[in-house]
Symmetry: C2
Subunit: 242 residues, 2 copies
Amino acid sequence: MFKIFISLVKNIINNYANFIVMLSQAIQDYLKTIYKLENSGAVSTTAIAKELNISGASVTGMLKRLSTMKLVDYNSYKGVRLTNEGRKIALEVIRHHRLLELYLKEALGFPLDKVHDEACRLEHVISRDFIDKIDEILGSPEFDPHGHPIPDKDGSVSKSDELSLITVKGGDTVIIKRLADHDQEMLAYFEKKRLVPNVVLKIIDKAPFSGPITAFYNDENQIIGNEIAKNIYIEHYSEESE
Amino acid sequence: MFKIFISLVKNIINNYANFIVMLSQAIQDYLKTIYKLENSGAVSTTAIAKELNISGASVTGMLKRLSTMKLVDYNSYKGVRLTNEGRKIALEVIRHHRLLELYLKEALGFPLDKVHDEACRLEHVISRDFIDKIDEILGSPEFDPHGHPIPDKDGSVSKSDELSLITVKGGDTVIIKRLADHDQEMLAYFEKKRLVPNVVLKIIDKAPFSGPITAFYNDENQIIGNEIAKNIYIEHYSEESE
DNA sequence: AAAATAATTTAGATATGTTTAAAATTTTTA
DNA sequence: TAAAAATTTTAAACATATCTAAATTATTTT
Ligand SMILES: [Mn+2]
Ligand SMILES: [Mn+2]
Ligand SMILES: [Mn+2]
Ligand SMILES: [Mn+2]
């Protein structure tokens, strides 16, 4: 029975519009995690275990099962990579997550620090009909509220910006592109200070020795601490870049 | 560890705003099912098994666990009833379900036959913040798209109407209050024929021997078959009743 | 290159939630 | 009221997903 199920997975993926709903939450989260960790290279058991906050032994067990299901290529002791099928699922879950986050924020008025947990639960059970509908309502947005790119229906997705605000110098003008989203308290602070994606900052000064940044935005000069700046990712701004 | 968890359930229920999210989907569905089946009397193992499409043995096992968790009062061979805590949870899940159904229909334009399955998955993982928000957007509605009453935040809920359309006679004027929701094809047909809650029907004729009903609504005379009429629940209509 | 260390897997266990088959109990029928 | 039938529970098994502890493999250090 199990074998039959496994052998049908590929068919299901290709033919059944809502296949994600048939995979366990655990499987979906593993695939998502492997996707996030594989930057041109196999992902280690330990890396996955750390990210998901579970034991390495649990990861090994799941990797074997994902391998049987042809969702990953797994080599004992060598690490794991997603297959095309596995990546397809990972990207769909991520698309769900990010569209949900934006919908929660824009349509339902959720605060920035509350969208992640909700999206992380709903992403696994929401149908494509629901997702397509909120994508339409939001006008096929490109970025979630943290500035993460939203994969499109075909699974293509742009790269995240990786230039941190701590790299700026006085005189620069930059635009906020992305916020690190691992700390809820910090997310609440970002929102309170209106340090959110698409805000343009004129850098007045950057104090030495990891000192604070003085930036003009929102009609006044504001001080941004080093710890905060580290978690804000930017692009250098020019009129035509927008 | 398990014992400790069990002993904390009551506390969690009373203190943690999103406690439902901490109970498994299975537990939530059992409680919902028992709620629906207990019309002043204990619910049998077999009734639950039939409703959930699982074996009786599975039900017995779960009832023991729910009993340990003090969510039901269970007597071997005698049947089961919800405790107050259990009923509270059942009503919250039902509230989630029905508000979701209405939101899917009204805000996202889902067809009537598609709202149930989606709501049945989302109801278990959606937070109170989300539910409160859609309740607000919908204006604290009293009924879901099938005409089922939506429990309010305190868990109070009105009774469903039980008078079927087949009971009418020529000359009656009735208002549709509720639709049976077990058959998706029939739900699609209800919607196509605009036989939905709050529609007023002037009964022109009811043919004998379980024959069809002729009713005036939507500006014309329409024929309603017996099988369809059986699944439509109504109230007799008078101006002041609205 | 051997020893030490770190990463990974295996083995054995547990909790959840399900199944079928057999045993026990309750209800119905004669 | 005794036998038959139906319901319910128990027993044994399985799949999923996790754990800890021990064994194995790979990597780093000396
Ligand atoms: Mn998740
Ligand atoms: Mn995000
Ligand atoms: Mn459900
Ligand atoms: Mn309904």
